[in-house]
């Protein structure tokens, strides 16, 4: 069976996420740190619900009221010139 990629940015497969969650019986956050799923350019906007679904299935971690993979700024990639306040074009 061919690999199913879950996190497109970091090319993390469903198998990687399932195995990591099983082996360490860990939280969505720990899976993210161990596999990099959700840590790419999109900030998890594409794979976040998928990672949550895998965790609900493997470890029974239910979607709580807080967003499981904590959202942290910047929520979009920014260049250092924007952060430094020197960026003026577009």
């Amino acid at each position: 069976m061919e690999k199913t990629i879950i996190c497109r940015c970091e090319e993390v497969s469903l198998e990687d996420i399932e195995n990591t969650a099983k082996k360490h019986n860990c939280s969505a956050r720990e899976v993210k740190l161990r596999t990099r799923a959700g840590m790419g350019y999109c900030g998890g906007r594409t794979c976040r619900p998928a990672v949550d679904a895998v965790l609900a299935d493997v470890t029974g971690e239910k979607a709580g009221h807080q967003v499981p993979l904590k959202v942290q700024p910047p929520v979009r990639p920014v260049t250092l010139s924007v952060l430094g306040g020197t960026h003026h074009d577009n």
């Binding site: 497109r8 940015c9 090319e11 993390v12 990687d16 990591t20 082996k23 161990r34 596999t35 990099r36 790419g40 350019y41 999109c42 906007r45 594409t46 990639p77 260049t79």
Partner: protein, 129 residues
């Protein structure tokens, strides 16, 4: 050049009186319409692939087309990480596709180094780039 355009639409009507805009993608000149995004102008010209995955080299194109997924990121006038689906084409814009980058190690996450010493020792035995 507009082979992939939907010029007539039974409900939305015809596309007409559009101003052409010329830009380059990886050195080749293309023409789109004013108001086109980089992604739509290229797709109208039959170009889908916008980059390759930095590590694996797998070909990529638009996925969400609305700015969320960043799969269409390209380099525009030397600025990196510009979303082709959110950026309108401008005359003489220079667009370049995303290329592969050297990967210091390429294994399963479980084998990734956890310390700098581990990183150095793994790098020795794994020289793919």
């Amino acid at each position: 050049m507009t082979t992939n355009r939907i010029l007539n639409h039974p409900v939305l009507g015809p596309v007409e009186n559009k101003t052409p805009v010329t830009f380059t993608f990886d050195g080749q000149t293309f023409e789109g319409f004013e108001g086109d995004t980089i992604a739509s102008a290229l797709l109208a010209n039959g170009i889908r692939q916008l980059r390759v995955h930095e590590e694996t080299g797998a070909p990529r194109a638009i996925y969400c087309n609305i700015g969320h997924c960043f799969e269409c990121r390209v380099t525009v006038n030397k600025h990196e990480t510009v979303r082709a689906c959110m950026t309108t084409i401008q005359p003489d814009m220079v667009v370049e596709s995303g290329k592969m980058e050297p990967a210091p190690f390429n294994t399963s996450p479980e084998e990734w180094p956890r310390t700098y010493a581990e990183f150095e020792s793994k790098k020795e035995g794994d020289s793919n780039a």
